[in-house]
Symmetry: C2
Subunit: 422 residues, 2 copies
């Protein structure tokens, strides 16, 4: 919790006589979109270094370079393999990492950049969505010991046979948090293009408020529910290792948001902390399913095999031996999920499969709100008062989610933000 | 010599029952500058594969992507380290290799792309000008055995501690030839933006003629003397392993030029085969050097340490115990060479150092021409007839080089091409 004691926005000074603590600083693509921005980010790193930290910098690809690479791929092949796409996309961080290292050296800060395989980031073989399975940070530790800042290419790792893998969306966050945990860093700072975590999307709610603290489970639900500042996988790892995360702006000196264990922020329990939303959602309904054991597994096992995450799942009560089952997936997975489920529907003798796009999720998030029945009631009442129909509902320990028409999502977020006095 | 027997421009058909011979095909940056060109190159590879070859493709970076990367580097640092530049520049081939692999897969040709470290290309640690010190092509052989075309990122390798290195200018040629030698390939085809090796630069001499054959030593001198089609290091390796090279156009079906051992083209001995030139040359003269043993070493050892190649070297006869020494370097190395030599000049008590830019080399090349005194005489007479002053002369077994004013180099090449009836 050391970072909480520092004056807001400034990096604390560490006595030179002590062992230097390690700080991991991650910069997203927007923060590195031009050489000028890379130089600005390098200055922040240099300042933290002067304050007495050993620094590991994790970088994403510059700005829209990933889109450029994807466009090149689409021009040579209709369906490039995930294996070749990984090799191609990994060059994005292969560019930003040495540029950051050069910018640091130019400021007189000795630095060295390492690609994923050089940094010892071992993953499984699931191209495009690999998971980190091991970290051997010997090279990083040697470079730190010799006085260098180590710049690590985020988002990428090495599978068996020295295969280059990528960690999927938000993968650089995961790289940063995993390295922070492996190196027993004091904290992991996530520099991004927003000032921190807000009570709702500031583009939707003009008086959305910056949260100075948030607990891991709340952040996890926010991230899973569409607040794209942090990747959920990164939050999970941070929680598992009690690694404090600090989300802050690359462009402003403000305090940002500290993500830490719930105990640290007890006073915030039992109330709604924020409103999250996710616009790109598709719903699939399997209608007239014979109600017998194993049906849910028959539907969801092939989806899991295709790495498609079914989100909100609702099964209606059985009626005359048949039932309906509905669930949501991200729009991007919609077409593939529909194909798979249509195959399953035939096998299990379901009547038909319905697919619907243009729907959205809106969620209220807060530790302990499950124990507060008033929260759910207020949410449903508020949506009803605004004439917004609730199509599906799902809850967790720290979240209540309603599926609504995508056209009403902005109204819903604003109304809920108002209703819960955020 | 098998490739000589084939019909010109077509890839020979190999009987399916025999072991499939290996062909290495290298494509330069101009041949891969757009997705459309990558697809065109992939079609040539697919055709060779249908003809019965196992194929290893070596690719350079797309078009001007290296310049783009260098520009990014110059915007973040005045003097980026060679180590970080290597990592940055290696992403150029990191992009073109998977794109080529995707384009092949799209044509129904199973392919896999490998970066230098994955392909087992081991180098020394001399960043920006590394040399290949070992090749462990196990992964390539396994991929070939499983029926895939293997696309290897050229120009790059791996030094100690998994450091990414680059092989310097023309490095992809070197990658291709070294792989061809290690894999005991039948031949190595170099696809480029010219139709082959000419008797002189076609931009200077409109009736320059395409050479169907050329011997390694001639090609080596042509390459060293400024004919930039092949890198000299690649020619050296090809000669050492008797690996036949075939230089041909990516854009035309013509026969190209076969580079092989001298014995194969005996009928071409003892005559001038081509005129080469190099425009970007600087001359340094150390004036008034006390003439004693060890002086030349004192001058050239520190240059060698800085990896600067001194080219034409001339020392005048000693006069009253002092002598003058002149040599040429490439213009790019001129400033650094001047600084080094000025330091040395003080130590050895030389009077002064003179530096001159704006000079050029022009060379006549041909196996056995050293034994033909008429060749040198004709060269000097031709230049004199055109009022071109010869400032320095250097000869080898297969080459005569004159240093002249850069402004006259085009005239000199045209006049010599005419004089030797090429």
């Amino acid at each position: 919790m050391a970072l909480e004691r520092r004056s807001r926005g400034a990096t604390p000074r560490v006595p030179e006589s002590l062992t230097r603590p390690i700080l991991v600083q991650k910069f997203g693509g927007t923060s590195l979109s031009t050489p000028a921005r890379i130089k600005r980010a390098a200055k922040r790193v240099a300042a933290s270094r002067r304050a007495g930290y050993d620094i590991v910098v994790v970088v994403s690809a510059m700005g829209d370079s990933t889109d450029h690479l994807l466009s090149l791929a689409s021009q040579v092949a209709k369906e490039p393999t995930a294996r070749e796409l990984d090799l191609l996309l990994s060059t994005g961080e292969g560019v930003s990492a040495p540029l950051m290292s050069m910018a640091l050296n130019e400021l007189g800060v000795p630095a060295v950049s390492l690609l994923g395989f050089q940094a010892g980031i071992q993953t499984d073989q699931r191209h495009a969505k690999a998971r980190i399975v091991g970290l051997t940070p010997g090279r990083i530790e040697r470079e730190l010991a010799s006085g260098r800042v180590v710049v690590v290419a985020g988002f990428q790792g090495m599978g068996d046979e020295m295969e280059v893998t990528t960690l999927g969306r938000g993968g650089s966050d995961t790289t940063a948090v995993a390295l922070a945990a492996a190196l027993k860093a004091q904290a992991c700072e996530i520099f991004t293009d927003v000032r921190g975590i807000y009570t709702a999307d500031p583009r939707f709610v003009s008086n959305a408020r910056l949260l100075p603290h948030i607990a891991y489970p709340e952040m996890l639900e926010l991230a899973s529910s569409g607040a794209r500042v942090m990747h959920p996988r990164a939050v999970e790892i941070a929680e598992a290792y009690s690694m404090e995360l600090h989300v802050r702006s690359s462009f402003h000196a403000g305090p940002g948001t500290i993500i830490s264990s719930e105990a640290a922020i007890m006073e915030e329990r039992n109330r709604v902390r924020g409103i999250a939303h996710e616009e790109h959602v598709a719903r699939l309904s399997v209608v007239g399913v014979p109600d017998r054991p194993g049906i849910a597994a028959a539907v969801f096992a092939p989806l899991a095999e295709a790495d498609i995450a079914a989100d909100v799942i609702v099964q209606t009560a059985s009626h005359e031996g048949v039932t309906d089952m509905s669930f949501t997936v991200s729009s991007a997975d919609g077409r593939q999920a529909e194909r798979i489920v249509q195959g399953v529907a035939k096998e299990i003798g379901a009547r038909t499969v319905l697919a619907q796009n243009g729907i959205a999720k809106v969620s209220v998030i807060g530790s302990g709100i499950r124990g507060q029945p008033g929260v759910a009631a207020t949410m449903f009442r508020t949506l009803a008062d605004h004439g917004i129909n609730i199509e599906m509902i799902s809850t967790s320990e720290v979240r209540i989610t309603c599926i609504i028409d995508a056209k009403r999502v902005k109204d819903a977020v604003a109304a809920l933000h108002e209703a819960f006095k955020l």
